[in-house]
């Protein structure tokens, strides 16, 4: 059933929509157009010399093996962060959904990490894992593991995946918990009466009924891993060692803000924008608009 509100005049709806429309125009559409334009120019930082370069910047990007490697790395990173944070969150949600004493406290505690600023989260992980002062790092080196993420590609990647996934667990946890609670008890009870037990019940009833939530979270997590992790990565490794943790968004920052290469940085932004549009389109296509709002 759909409810409709009918406006009498023409003016009122326009006025009501205008603020949101203006905000979108000024803060989203206009910069987006600027980025597209800049991506087709070659200019110095001060904008004194600006030449139209057509698709040169894009050609240079995709012929650069380092950029292609960065795409691969980012895809791996997105998959790793999403898989880790979603599976952990699901596990925690299933346990917190049980009838246990003090579960509100568990739930509140589990939501905390989401409220921590990325740079702060990074500092927490540095305290744990910094090779010289980290508590966990000291424990590792006592047990014969040479831990130094400044100089070990695998360890650096492992660390940023851990740090970024940890931050997202809370968000996923809330959604999974809500998803679990919205599963009709009657269905679960019917299954129980039919003799379906723990894992079997989860696999055949709970998990399929959580599918819309899971898919929504998957898209959100992929986008989070691609973009929102910038602060954490920048504070932890700045993309190093080598280029081991340089994801696409770190590279945009490096080329645009540090190296002041506006053309290439804009081209990279445009590539990312296309990526987000693709992901979003996918989500709308498979989920429809009304299922989750």
């Amino acid at each position: 059933m759909e409810r409709r509100t009918i406006f009498g005049q023409r003016l009122l709806p326009v006025i009501l929509v205008a603020p949101q429309f203006l905000l979108t125009l000024i803060f989203f559409l206009w910069p987006a157009c600027q980025a597209i334009w800049s991506s087709m120019t070659r200019q110095d930082p001060f904008g004194l010399h600006s030449q139209f370069a057509g698709l040169d910047n894009f050609v240079e990007l995709f012929t650069d093996p380092l950029y292609r490697a960065s795409i691969g790395r980012t895809v791996f990173f997105m998959a790793a962060v999403s898989a880790l944070s979603m599976s952990l969150a699901l596990l925690l949600a299933v346990f917190a959904d049980r009838e246990i004493r003090g579960r509100t406290i568990y739930r509140t505690l589990l939501i905390w990490p989401y409220a921590i600023a990325p740079a702060m989260a990074a500092v927490l992980w540095i305290v744990l894992l910094q090779p010289q002062v980290g508590i966990l790092a000291a424990w590792l080196s006592r047990h014969g593991i040479a831990w130094d993420y400044h100089l070990n590609d695998t360890q650096a990647m492992l660390m940023i995946v851990l740090a970024c996934a940890w931050k997202q667990v809370s968000y996923n946890f809330i959604f999974f918990l809500a998803g679990l609670q919205s599963i009709p008890r009657t269905v679960l009870e019917a299954a129980r009466m039919d003799g379906a037990r723990g894992w079997h019940r989860f696999r055949t009833i709970t998990f399929p009924l959580l599918a819309p939530t899971s898919f929504f979270l998957l898209v959100v997590n992929l986008v989070y891993a691609a973009f929102d992790t910038f602060g954490t990565i920048q504070a932890l490794t700045q993309g190093g060692p080598g280029k081991a943790t340089e994801t696409l968004v770190v590279k945009v920052y490096r080329d645009g803000v540090v190296n002041l290469d506006i053309g290439s940085s804009s081209a990279q932004s445009v590539v990312l924008m296309i990526g987000v549009i693709g992901l979003t389109a996918l989500q709308f296509r498979f989920l429809g608009r009304r299922q989750l709002t």
Binding site: Q34, A35, D44, L48, H49, N152, K243, V257, N259, G263
Partner: protein
């Protein structure tokens, strides 16, 4: 909502908002953006206050704009919006970009000519002056906080290893001998917190740029870029490869701990975990505050087989650039010039030097510090000055005038980190650095229309 925010974050240029400190009515405002923190920021604010009290027409308003790179980006964004500050502090590696900025800046010689204020470049120490001058000697920006690379060492650790704590190793073979002696004693009670013999902050700046300068080796063609935008990188010569192989070998033997990029390894020396630390001479204040051991400051070691007669090292730090806007008046430029003249007086320069650990940028400031007895009270504080003034400045030791130098440093960090993990040799790291760095230089050349 989330999606849209992300979309915006992707495309919106991260340009900082422009804010001006509110000034007193009737005075000519001079907005001064800087990137100083801690004790250095206090001293910068003191300079502005002292100037404001010394006259009644103009008022300098210092504004902290974040790190060096942030400040440069903010200044560029502000100029494009016609909101540039009067003065901005730009780090030395941004000099190439600022020189190519044409109408966005008013170089010191132009400022002196237009305002009639005497801003004589001859008062500055040559090693400092050269970095910020055009090839014909005209001064482009006003040298501000200048440091150079030095070697710090832990005297207690030297004593514990049976080395003479009063004698710093002056050559790389001596450094290796000392490092081995220290390594042999690590874990003994006398060695205390020491876990590794040697580390280096700013590895590329210290071990490659400074190394090339003091040994009189070219870093790039065209006099390290001073004579043209078409310079090509040259830091993969046999002597530099030898230095890289030496450091990689030391790392393998457990004598050298990489520690991380830029200033990250500073803490290794301050906390006493590394017995020898290379870094900026500007770290002195922090070492005085943090080190719980006896330490000394020493000249950078040399390789006598490469060059037994080392020359001057080059500076790091930042300079002050005058920026333009369309509506800026002659009176405002004059106020800027007067401020620049004021901070170059011997009293101000010496005070800045003694409170921050940066070197004095004028001869008179140095002489005043000597007369004050500063170097008797702070032994070793004149090491950077002596190193900067050593020998005769050559095309290889004037400095580096390369566009996007910060990016080239990052490339070298990346390649070196791969070499330290054993993924490639020292020569391959430097060769790749040259190939990738040259591509950056050509991009820069194209972008500024050179």
């Amino acid at each position: 909502m989330k999606r849209r925010t992300l979309l915006a974050a992707t495309v919106a240029a991260p340009f900082a908002a422009v804010d001006h400190a509110s000034g007193q009515p009737g005075k000519i405002p001079v907005v001064f953006w800087h990137a100083m923190t801690g004790a250095n920021a206090d001293e910068t604010n003191r300079l502005a206050r002292a100037f404001n009290e010394s006259q009644s027409e103009a008022e300098v308003q210092p504004v902290f704009k974040g790190g060096y790179a942030d400040t440069l980006t903010a200044a560029i964004a502000a100029w494009r919006a016609d909101q540039a500050p009067h003065l901005v502090q730009i780090f030395e590696v941004g000099t190439g970009s600022m020189l190519a900025a044409g109408p966005a800046t008013k170089q010191v010689w132009q400022l002196a000519k237009e305002t009639g204020v005497d801003l004589d470049p001859a008062i500055y120490i040559p090693g400092v002056r050269g970095y910020y001058s055009l090839t014909d000697g005209r001064l482009a920006s006003r040298p501000f906080n200048s440091s150079t690379a030095v070697m710090w060492y832990n005297k207690d650790a030297f004593a514990a290893a049976g080395l003479d704590p009063e004698k710093a190793p002056s050559t790389w073979p001596e450094v290796i001998v000392a490092a081995r002696a220290i390594k042999a004693k690590i874990g003994t009670p006398a060695m205390g917190a020491v876990k590794s013999p040697v580390t280096s902050s700013w590895m590329i700046w210290v071990q490659l740029e400074q190394y090339s300068a003091i040994h009189d080796l070219p870093y790039a063609t065209k006099a390290n870029g001073f004579e043209g935008l078409d310079a090509e990188l040259k830091f993969n010569g046999p002597a530099q490869v030898k230095q890289w192989d030496r450091l990689l070998g030391m790392a393998k033997e457990g004598l050298y701990e990489y520690g991380g990029r830029d200033t990250v390894p500073d803490a290794l020396f301050y906390s006493g975990q590394a017995a020898i630390g290379f870094g900026s001479s500007a770290g002195r204040g922090d070492i005085v505050r943090n080190a719980r051991f006896k330490w000394a400051e020493a000249l950078l070691p040399i390789d006598p087989e490469v060059n037994a007669h080392p020359i001057n090292s080059i500076i790091g730090g930042a300079s002050l650039w005058t920026m333009t806007t369309k509506q800026r008046t002659a009176a405002e430029y004059k106020a800027v010039a007067q401020f620049l003249k004021f901070i170059a007086t011997p009293e101000q320069d010496a005070h800045f030097h003694q409170t921050t650990g940066y070197v004095p940028v004028t001869f008179a400031g140095y002489e005043k510090s000597k007369a004050d007895g500063y170097y008797e009270k702070q032994p070793g504080a004149d090491v950077p000055i002596k190193q900067l003034a050593r020998g005769k400045v050559t095309a290889n030791s004037r400095g580096l005038r390369l566009g996007r130098l910060a990016e080239i440093r990052n490339i070298l960090y990346e390649e070196t980190e791969k070499a330290l993990q054993g993924q490639q040799s020292g020569k391959q790291a430097l060769d790749n650095g040259v190939t990738r760095g040259d591509r950056v230089l050509r991009e820069f050349q194209k972008s500024v229309g050179g």
